[in-house]
Structure formats: structure tokens, C-alpha cells
Amino acid sequence: MDIKDVENLAELAKIDLNEDEKKQILKDMGGILEYVKTIESVKLDETKLTYDTYNVWREDKIEPQEFSKESIIKQFPDKQDNFLKVKKIL
């Protein structure tokens, strides 16, 4: 991994980093990847892997919720006429 990889990951994850932070992350990632990489050496036989997870569905019904629209709108960092206001997208 090099500094370009860090920049690419930061761009994908939408996290602004300064030069020092990038260098620090690169160093930390090196250590962590070195550690977790031992997983590659684990030998797995081909016996069954039973994934016991399953989907849980519910009907798409309209039900009253206890939280109010106002309490949610109140937390918007920026708003206009009760709508969330964001910067220009294009």
C-alpha cells in the first residue's frame, strides 16, 4: 500500500485528510494489515459451511410512529421551509 492507495480510499470513504494524516494512516494500515494477513495462511477444508442466517420480512404497512417530524427537522444543520437544505449537487 502506498500514499496513493490511502488517497483513493479516503476519496471513496469521503473523508478529508491532510498530508500528515495520510502518512499516519499509511503507517497504521501497514501494521494492521500485517497482523490480519495471517488469516491467509488458515487452511480450510472443504467441509460444509452452513450459513444459518435468513431474511426477516415484514409487510410494508403505514403505521403511526412515536417520533415527530418536528423533532427530526429541528436537528437539520440547514433548512428552508421545513425541508433539509443541501449544497448544489451539480
Binding site: A10, K14, I32, V36, L44, T50, F67, Q75, V86
Partner: protein
């Protein structure tokens, strides 16, 4: 004057019923200790302003006969558990001033029973850490030695109970975040079976691992809280419904209900060959000897895949973190940075809002999920996880419980391991198998080291066999009377 250090939930309940003291009198005692100690220990980030009203409401339940065992019991809750109308920041700057718009299911349950929620406690940012040092709101300190960490990520909840600033508390676990601070602070901590307690209204970190987990000063208190909170919740799709197919893994072939005289306890000695403090090993061996002397059968077991638990965890968890934390974008709540356009608002809000460890894990997760690395890391890790689960379930066909030390060291100094992420991660090496396999685990105190810092032993049980943990925990308390909750940290509480 109430003797806070020797209180239990049942004692308090009896005292409320007999009128020895009122809900308000008890909570006022705790508020006094908080006023005295919290500036130094930083267990609480906030004391709720409606605590005394809550106490009055609880008292009414005793008058009108609707009181339950938890009515009037003072709880501290971790800063990632939503309580409507109150702040919940998950220890992060990006959620500063975020106010919960609804109650988490666990809070709703506690409110219904009239428990008193004193305040929200400090934690590692987004529950990422093992020492409560990554919080955006300062470190918490261990009441046994204030130059040391209380463990983490639920450090504040542990300090609140160990420092007699609450009778009991709730934390959350993703990998040892309750058992490890319970260990460092001389408490009992339970990580319930995955799916046993609702996570609705908990700020998530790793969805396939997270569980709400209680702290107490003794096994019985933790048992009471677990029994109150463990119920099916349709709002959490991982909550286990009585109707849903039980994971086939959950059947313990050995019946506990009959009150057995011989407990078979498996010990994976081969996992402790490296990296465990000699003093910890010595204490653990003593504990095992005590169990053996009291009639338990100790069996040497092998868990070859569990050896890789922490490596698998540090791939799976960051992957889940990187997707989970994408919702924090500076748009709808919390911290928002100025930017020229939308992309810049995202970049800057997340860049400034997340601390070091959160950024590290988000990037690591993004990496292990990215094209070209997915198979080598993430895919391999989930396969290893399945093997760990399988071997643990297989082991429980021969033993009732698995015992290990809770942590490889006792509480370490503040500042230590902060610049060495892997050293910090290794704190949770014995915690990881239970979270990855989804089985319940209980940590409880097993004595003190030469500096007076608590040791801890951990028991794991098969899925949905929390009762086995409570039984062995109470037995262990009886055979190790010197380690019970009586021996509190010096100078704390009354």
C-alpha cells in the same frame, strides 16, 4: 446515609418496599458521589436533568402497586443508546448535539418498569477502542488507579458502577467492550447471545456482532437485567422470535435445569501460550483449581480456528463499520462543516467529525471490501468465522462451558497503546470468539494483582444458555468469597 457499595438490586427493592429509603433518597446519594468524583473519573458525559422526576414517578409505582424489581433502580447508559429527547453522541464529535428522537427498545423497557436513567456515559468513539481513550469528550479513569484506563469501549458505564455512581449500567459489546472494562474495573459483565436483546435504537458499529450488555457488581444483578431485557422485538430483525427457527447451533445436549452437581468446563490452554501476562495465568490457574476442587470437571480442549478470531474480527468489523458509518454525512444531524458544494461538505464533515480510530477503521473496511482484496480478506474472514462457530458449537457437545482469562493483562496506564493500534486490539483476544460465534459470555472478578488491580475470569456457554453462566457465576462467587463485590476500590463511594 445509604451503604452504596454493598447494595444489590434485590436489597434496594426490599428497602423501597419496606420504606427504609425512597427512590429519590437513593438517587440523591448517587448524585452526591457523582458530584464528588465525576470531574476526575469522567464516567458520565451528562447527568439527565429529569432524574429527580424519574425518581418521583418510580415512587408512585410503589404506592400504586405496579412496581417491578427494576422500579427505582439507578442505571447509567452508554452514550450510544437512544433515550428520547436526550443527547446521544456515541462519543463522537460528528454527533455532538444529536438529540434522540425516539427511545431504544431497551430504554423503553427500563422506562416502563420505572428504572431511573441517571445519565449517559463516556465511551470510545463509536465504540471503537479498548480503553475509552478515543472518545471526543476526554478519557475516563479507572477508579482502582486513576492513572490507568478503565477499559473500553463501555468504560464510562463500568466506571459509573465501580465508582458507586450508579447501581448498574448498560454498555454495548462488539468484541469485549463490556467484558474487558468489567475485567479492568472488578465488575461482572455479560455479553448475551446474539439476538437475545434488541438493538433497536442503538447506534450501530458492527451489525453482525453488536449486543447490548449489562454491568453489575454481582452475577445476580446482571441476571435480573438480562431477564428484563431479553425479549423478542419486531423492530430488530436479528431479534430471536419464539416463532423464528432457532439457530440449529443453540441446543445444549446437556441439561442444566436439573441442577447438576458436576460441571464440565473446557479450557483451551493452547490459546494462552503467548501474549498472556504471567500473573494473569497464575490467577487463572488458581481459579480453575478452585472450580476443580468444588467438583467441576476440567477438560483440556482445542480450538484451532479460534486462534484466528481476532484477525477475522479485524477484517469483518471494519468492513461493517465502513458501511454503517457512511450514514454520518453532516447532512441531517450532528456536526456539519462548511463546503463549496455537496461533496466538499461530506469530505470535510467526515474528515473533521470522525476521530483517528474511526477514520482508520472506515478506511481499513473500505480496503478489505475493495475489488482485488475482497476474496483474500473479507471472504476468507467470514469463512474462518463460520469454522470458529462450528468448532465452538462442536465443543459444547462435550463440555458445558468454556473458561478463559477475560483479558491478557490487567488495566494499563493512560496513554499506553494509543499509538500502536495492533497492541490495543490484542486486549480483546479472548473476547472475540464469543462475539464471532454469537454465544453468550460472562466476565467476573477473580482476585487482584500485586498493585491491587482486578483480575477476571470469563465463561462462555452455548447459544441461549445464559442460565448456565449465571449458575457457574454464582458458584464462582461462593467459592471465591474474597473477590466478591465487597472489596471496592479505595476512597470510592461510601
Amino acid at each position: 446515609m445509604i451503604d452504596l457499595k454493598n447494595l444489590t438490586i434485590e436489597k434496594v427493592h426490599e428497602s423501597f418496599k419496606s420504606g427504609e429509603f425512597t427512590c429519590k433518597e437513593l438517587v440523591e446519594e448517587y448524585l452526591k458521589v457523582i458530584k464528588e468524583k465525576n470531574t476526575e473519573l469522567n464516567a458520565y458525559l451528562e447527568i439527565y436533568d429529569d432524574v429527580l422526576n424519574q425518581a418521583d414517578e418510580a415512587q408512585k409505582k410503589f404506592k400504586d402497586g405496579t412496581a417491578t424489581i427494576l422500579t427505582g433502580i439507578p442505571f447509567a447508559i452508554k452514550d450510544n443508546i437512544l433515550f428520547e429527547g436526550h443527547k446521544a453522541s456515541a462519543g463522537s464529535k460528528i454527533l455532538e448535539n444529536h438529540v434522540a428522537v425516539y427511545d431504544s427498545t431497551v430504554v423503553k423497557e427500563l422506562k416502563q418498569q420505572g428504572a431511573i436513567l441517571i445519565g449517559r456515559t463516556n465511551m470510545d468513539e463509536f465504540a471503537m477502542g479498548s480503553s475509552t481513550q478515543t472518545s471526543a469528550y476526554g478519557v475516563s479513569r479507572n477508579p482502582y488507579d486513576t492513572s490507568r484506563v478503565p477499559g473500553g469501549s463501555s468504560g464510562g458505564s463500568a466506571v459509573a458502577v465501580a465508582g458507586d455512581m450508579a447501581l448498574v449500567s448498560l454498555g454495548t459489546e462488539t468484541c469485549g467492550s463490556v467484558r474487558q472494562p468489567a475485567s479492568f474495573c472488578g465488575l461482572v459483565g455479560l455479553k448475551p447471545t446474539y439476538g437475545a436483546v434488541s438493538r433497536n435504537g442503538i447506534i450501530a458499529m458492527g451489525n453482525s456482532l453488536d449486543q447490548v450488555s449489562p454491568f453489575g457488581k454481582n452475577v445476580r444483578d446482571v441476571e435480573i437485567i438480562f431477564n428484563a431485557l431479553s425479549k423478542y422485538d419486531p423492530m430488530d430483525s436479528t431479534s430471536i422470535s419464539p416463532k423464528s427457527p432457532k439457530p440449529s447451533l443453540g441446543e445444549n445436549p446437556l441439561s442444566w435445569a436439573s441442577g447438576k452437581s458436576v460441571y464440565k468446563i473446557g479450557v483451551p490452554w493452547h490459546l494462552f501460550e503467548k501474549g498472556v501476562d504471567p500473573e494473569i495465568m497464575e490467577n487463572f490457574k488458581k481459579s480453575i483449581k478452585k472450580l476443580e476442587d468444588s467438583g467441576c470437571e476440567i477438560i483440556d480442549i482445542k480450538l484451532p480456528y479460534s486462534k484466528y478470531s481476532l484477525e477475522a474480527y479485524y477484517i469483518i468489523m471494519p468492513a461493517e463499520v465502513s458501511t454503517n458509518l457512511s450514514r454520518f454525512d453532516g447532512m441531517r444531524y450532528g456536526f456539519s462543516a462548511e463546503g463549496k458544494n455537496l461533496a466538499e461538505v461530506y469530505m470535510k464533515s467526515r474528515g473533521k467529525g470522525f476521530g483517528k480510530e474511526a477514520r482508520r477503521r472506515i478506511l481499513l473496511g473500505t480496503y478489505v471490501l475493495s475489488h482485488g482484496y475482497y476474496d483474500a480478506y473479507y471472504n476468507k474472514a467470514i469463512k474462518v468465522r463460520e469454522k470458529i462457530k462450528e468448532e465452538i458449537v462442536e465443543t459444547f457437545k462435550n463440555v458445558d462451558l468454556i473458561a478463559t482469562p477475560t483479558t491478557p493483562t490487567t488495566a494499563f496506564k493512560l496513554g499506553e497503546k494509543l499509538d500502536d493500534p495492533v497492541a490495543m486490539y490484542l486486549c480483546d483476544i479472548f473476547a472475540a470468539p464469543a462475539n464471532l460465534a454469537g454465544v453468550p459470555a460472562l466476565a467476573l472478578s477473580s482476585g487482584k494483582d500485586k498493585n491491587g488491580l482486578p483480575f477476571s475470569i470469563q465463561f462462555m456457554a452455548p447459544h441461549f444458555c445464559e442460565n448456565s453462566l449465571f449458575e457457574i457465576g454464582k458458584k464462582f462467587e461462593l467459592i471465591s468469597p474474597d473477590v466478591k463485590s465487597g472489596s471496592r476500590p479505595k476512597g470510592v463511594g461510601k
